[in-house]
């Protein structure tokens, strides 16, 4: 599978809208899927799912759809942990839970089927453009981002020497619009990174200037203590700390990503912060600082600890992506 860093922004951003689907369809080289798993999908179930998906309307044959289902199941191990063998019932449950209609459209588009593209354009073109405008907070940048993605989806980019559409990577486990938003976001982050290489580093305050209260040596010690503490924290705690202190997202935004109530996010974040602060204090005291001096170094005011934590995290290797708008 591709990675965001490997994606290539098309040289003709507007080509995605203008190109005809018929010409694209003939040239797209579809990935050949491994066949040994084909026997995992019973023929009866495969036909039922194919009919449920309405795949015939988007010119996706029964064999093509079954092959897509087999590939997806094998790729994600039917939602089970790696190494576990899925039972027949688990496999059926996994397949039935997929967004079958949207999967059929995505497969039809990836295969260059004209009727699939008509469906896609009718149902998702406006949504995709709106999402791009929302992410870039600019109509011009949004249109440009959406057009670039269209050309990519049409298969105008090459992958290992063959024309390839990212729609092949859509599994149907989530919604198609969610997948489109994800790939838009990835492309947007690609743009940030390009800009960030030139400008973002200047925007980040150097850690040495962060706190006058913390000496340079103490700061280094704190960095070590921070790493140790973070390594012992759960993935969720680390995500919370980074997202809140470093990326400076709001609790509401974090609750939206984690799909939990904002109060839960607040509680978990407070717990993680308290634990981190205690660990840092313990480290400072172990290094010979008195308890009071250590507390003063971290900041007795709760707001101080937030600022200091943010700056400590900023000074770490996990630097945030600057949220700067590109004009033009």
């Amino acid at each position: 599978m591709d990675t965001p860093s490997a994606n290539i922004i098309p040289t003709e951003p507007s080509g995605g809208k203008d190109c005809t689907t018929a010409s694209v369809a003939k040239e797209i080289a579809v990935e050949t899927e491994p066949t040994p798993e084909s026997r995992l999908l019973p023929e009866m179930l495969g036909e039922e799912l194919w009919r449920t998906a309405g795949a015939e309307a988007v010119e996706v044959s029964k064999a093509e759809f079954s092959q897509a289902l087999e590939t997806i199941g094998a790729r994600d191990n039917f939602g089970l942990e790696p190494g576990k063998q899925a039972s027949e019932r688990q496999r059926e449950t996994f397949w039935r839970a997929l967004h079958l209609e949207e999967l059929a459209i995505a497969r039809g588009c990836a295969l260059g089927r004209e009727s699939a593209w008509r469906y896609f354009l009718a149902q998702y073109q406006d949504k995709l453009t709106r999402a791009a405008v929302e992410m870039t907070r600019s109509a011009v940048l949004g249109e440009e981002l959406a057009s670039a993605l269209y050309s990519e989806l049409f298969g105008l980019t090459e992958h290992e020497g063959k024309r390839w559409s990212p729609l092949l990577g859509y599994s149907g486990r989530g919604s198609l619009i969610g997948w489109l938003r994800a790939i838009l976001a990835q492309r947007r982050v690609d743009q940030y990174r390009k800009i960030g290489r030139e400008t973002a580093l200047n925007e980040i305050e150097p850690a040495a200037a962060v706190s006058e209260q913390i000496e340079l040596k103490r700061l280094e010690d704190l960095q070590v203590a921070l790493k140790m503490t973070l390594s012992g924290a759960s993935a969720e705690e680390r995500f919370l700390l980074w997202a809140y202190y470093l990326d400076q997202h709001t609790l509401e935004e974090i609750s939206g990503v984690l799909r939990v109530h904002v109060a839960t996010v607040s509680r978990k974040l407070k717990r993680a912060t308290d634990r981190l602060r205690k660990q840092l204090l313990r480290t400072l005291v172990a290094q010979g600082l008195s308890r009071r001096a250590a507390e003063e170094a971290l900041g007795s005011d709760p707001r101080d600890i937030e600022i200091n934590l943010r700056k400590l995290l900023q000074n770490s290797e996990n630097a945030p992506i600057p949220d700067k708008e590109e004009q033009g």
């Binding site: 790729r75 989530g174 838009l184 976001a185 982050v189 993935a235 990326d247 935004e253 990503v257």
Partner: protein
């Protein structure tokens, strides 16, 4: 593909969308979180993926909505309950005779009328309440009760009703059944109107615009009607008619009746301290003495024929026979002649010559001792009853409930009366059948068998004189 979660390698769009949409399996979720904690780019991507409306969703507005949704199911029954209570109070108050409270209730109901959810509930509640109450009463009030509830609502709404509706309301107010000699179907209205003109002033009921305020006035008039009517009638009957009136004994008293009246001498002066003895056909007697205003009251009497004997020192003993019907109160005005003679007057309950008057009465319950009541005196809504064993009972609600008074006095109470130090002579008759305004000088007075005299203003706290 799982290798994408290795440090430095990013998850693809499908994995990100599966995570963001919450359909990832637990281990996928954890691995994605671990990657996001380390990868600022993917963190940026997942936050960019959030639709703006979704990120705003958990903000305080839904919390408010949640609160209202929680309270709404509680608010509706509470509103219905409040309406039911208001309907109950509005319905009961006309019978209890507290005009001020009724006016408040009318004004409270008014704003609730226009609201669609509550307009149905009060009507239903009040009517259903009236229906539930109706079995306790005779047929006339039961038919009038829902009508009364509706009229009350209209009156509270400030609607000017035609005169016919005023009469209906007056009919509903004077709801007890008319026992005798109704000259026309509108006799109760006429009785009320006469009471208004005689007892209060020159206005008539139909002259009053029937809004909430005047409806209250009408209620205020009702006790006066009874009082004034009784007073005038007794004076009139003294000259022309046999000294007996029979009142309706109250809407809820279906079986028991009573006898009350005032004893006077030939000059019209009241005779205080006269002994009134009532003997039924089986020979059982009930006895009481007249108060300082000459009045006497005997209640809780079964229907039947009675002989009433009035004796007083210096006067001839006077005997009268009465045919007491169920749920009626005979009002008698024996005139004692000076001397020692005795006379017997026989009157049947259906005598057409008697004037009828309606009274708004509450049911008088027997005293808890179960013994015959020797005497009952009333001061406003407070009534004192003395049973044949000398036990004293107090009622604060016109005789509905009785509470025994623990005696502070030695011996047995033999007589109770209302003491009126200033004997103006114009004071109204008092008694549990005729609620009247309370004078500040009225006190209960009790006499024991040792001739000790105790007084009390409230019937509870007694002081020896």
């Amino acid at each position: 593909m799982k290798a994408n979660f290795q440090p430095g390698i990013h998850p693809d769009a499908d994995q990100l969308s599966v995570f963001v949409e919450g359909v990832a399996s637990p281990h996928e979720h954890q691995r994605m979180l671990a990657h996001l904690a380390e990868c600022a780019e993917c963190r940026k991507a997942v936050f960019l993926m959030q639709p703006q409306e979704e990120t705003q969703a958990p903000r305080p507005e839904p919390v408010k909505g949640w609160t209202w949704r929680r309270l709404l199911p509680m608010a509706l029954p509470a509103a219905a309950l409040a309406c039911a209570v208001i309907a109950l109070v509005v319905y009961l108050r006309p019978h209890g005779g507290s005009p001020e409270v009724l006016q408040q209730n009318a004004s409270v109901r008014q704003p609730e009328i226009p609201r669609p959810p509550t307009t149905v509930a009060p009507t239903t509640n009040s009517e259903s309440f009236a229906r539930s109450e109706s079995p306790k009463k005779s047929s006339a009030p039961s038919a009038a009760a829902p009508n009364f509830a509706r009229q009350t609502k209209q009156a509270a709404n400030g609607v000017q009703l035609p005169e016919a509706k005023n009469q209906q309301i007056a009919d509903n107010i004077a709801s007890p059944p008319i026992a005798l000699a109704a000259p026309s179907p509108s006799a109760p209205v006429a009785g009320v109107a006469a009471g208004v003109s005689g007892g209060v002033g020159s206005g008539t009921v139909s002259d009053l615009p029937l809004n909430g305020r005047n409806f209250t006035k009408l209620q205020q008039l009702t006790p006066g009607v009874t009082k004034g009517g009784a007073s005038q009638n007794s004076l009139a009957l003294k000259k022309e008619l046999p000294a007996l009136e029979i009142e309706g004994a109250g809407a809820r008293d279906a079986t028991l009746g009573g006898v009350s009246g005032r004893v006077t001498d030939p000059t019209g002066a009241v005779v205080a301290g006269a002994t009134i003895t009532l003997r039924d056909a089986s020979g059982k007697t009930r006895q009481t003495t007249t108060g300082t205003d000459g009045s006497f009251h005997l209640t809780e009497l079964p229907a039947g024929r009675y002989d009433l004997m009035a004796t007083a020192t210096g006067f001839k003993t006077k005997e009268q026979s009465i045919e007491l019907k169920a749920s009626e109160v005979a009002v008698m005005a024996p005139v004692l002649d000076v001397g020692t003679a005795s006379e017997t007057v026989e009157v049947t309950g259906a005598a057409p010559t008697l004037e009828t008057e309606s009274a708004s009465m509450s049911r008088i319950m027997p005293v808890p001792s179960g013994l015959p009541v020797a005497a009952t005196v009333s001061l406003g809504k407070r009534s004192l009853s003395l049973d044949s064993a000398g036990n004293l009972f107090l009622s604060r609600n016109g005789g509905k409930k009785w509470k025994k008074i623990n005696p502070k006095w030695a011996g047995k109470a033999v007589h109770i009366e209302l003491k009126q130090p200033s004997d103006s002579g114009s004071l109204p008759q008092r008694g549990n059948e005729t609620p009247s305004s309370v004078s500040a000088i009225d006190v209960f007075q009790l006499t024991t068998d040792t001739n000790a005299v105790w007084t009390s203003k409230d019937g509870t706290h007694w002081h020896q004189q």
